[in-house]
Symmetry: C2
Subunit: 138 residues, 2 copies
Amino acid sequence: MRDADPVPEHEPGLTIAQVADRTGLTADTLRYYERACLIERVGRSTGNQRRYSAADLVWLEFLLRLRETGMPISGMQRYARLRAEGDATLGERLTLLREHRDDLAARIRRLRDHEDALHDKITHYEGLLSTQPGTDHA
Amino acid sequence: MRDADPVPEHEPGLTIAQVADRTGLTADTLRYYERACLIERVGRSTGNQRRYSAADLVWLEFLLRLRETGMPISGMQRYARLRAEGDATLGERLTLLREHRDDLAARIRRLRDHEDALHDKITHYEGLLSTQPGTDHA
DNA sequence: CCTTGACCTGGAGCGCACTCCAAGTTCTAG
DNA sequence: CTAGAACTTGGAGTGCGCTCCAGGTCAAGG
């Protein structure tokens, strides 16, 4: 009686270079993320080389989303730890996610204000330039 | 016949601590910004202590806007250098500003996509939790 | 006079998120 | 079987943006 194998041998998975290609991360960063426990230990080939499963890829893409929205490594570590603990932590993860989304929404609002202010300044400069278009030495 | 003094003696200006208070930067960061040529050399009191003018404050606030919108120090240095060169560089500064604004707009769009995706994931989690609300050991 | 506290300078140190390296192993094409 | 590319590990190094520190100056209060 075997356990249900999530990554059966007939599905070898992707090498680290292939995953680097698909995610835009470097192989070094992928190894770093594994060391930092952002991803659980990735499966290995018989020769001890990493073989990433489709599930690994999905998780990596989620991590990248967290990263691009400004979550620090430590925050992703907390989330990853909860995830590793299973369904019992769904509520906690939901809380983290909501906090992060609210944070993000606030940041986006601030950025939009800044965008408007930059736009105004640009318009002001354009006005200056059309009146006195540079040191015109013609 | 005196030069038009931009910071006359009867307007002593703000101390570094006061500027730190108003901007949210630390005194150390304000000195660092001056060393990095993000701000031109600030006026000094007779005892060689910094006295910030109103114009310094306006410029600092603009720098903070650039910083909060993701411009690195090196980018702010480029902008500050052009500004120091005077009106002849208005066109160049305008170009930098437009590039930065466009960049920012693109980043905001990406963030909004991420926000939507997070929202969807949150909704999904909420569905899971309402069906099976945690390991209910009642 | 002396103390206290805010300020000055140049330079060292820090936390973050990678990024690179050396030395050794494994995979694959010919 | 062999060459060389790709991979492994632990650990050191990097760039950014501050942040802290030592040792000194200056102004005000008691």
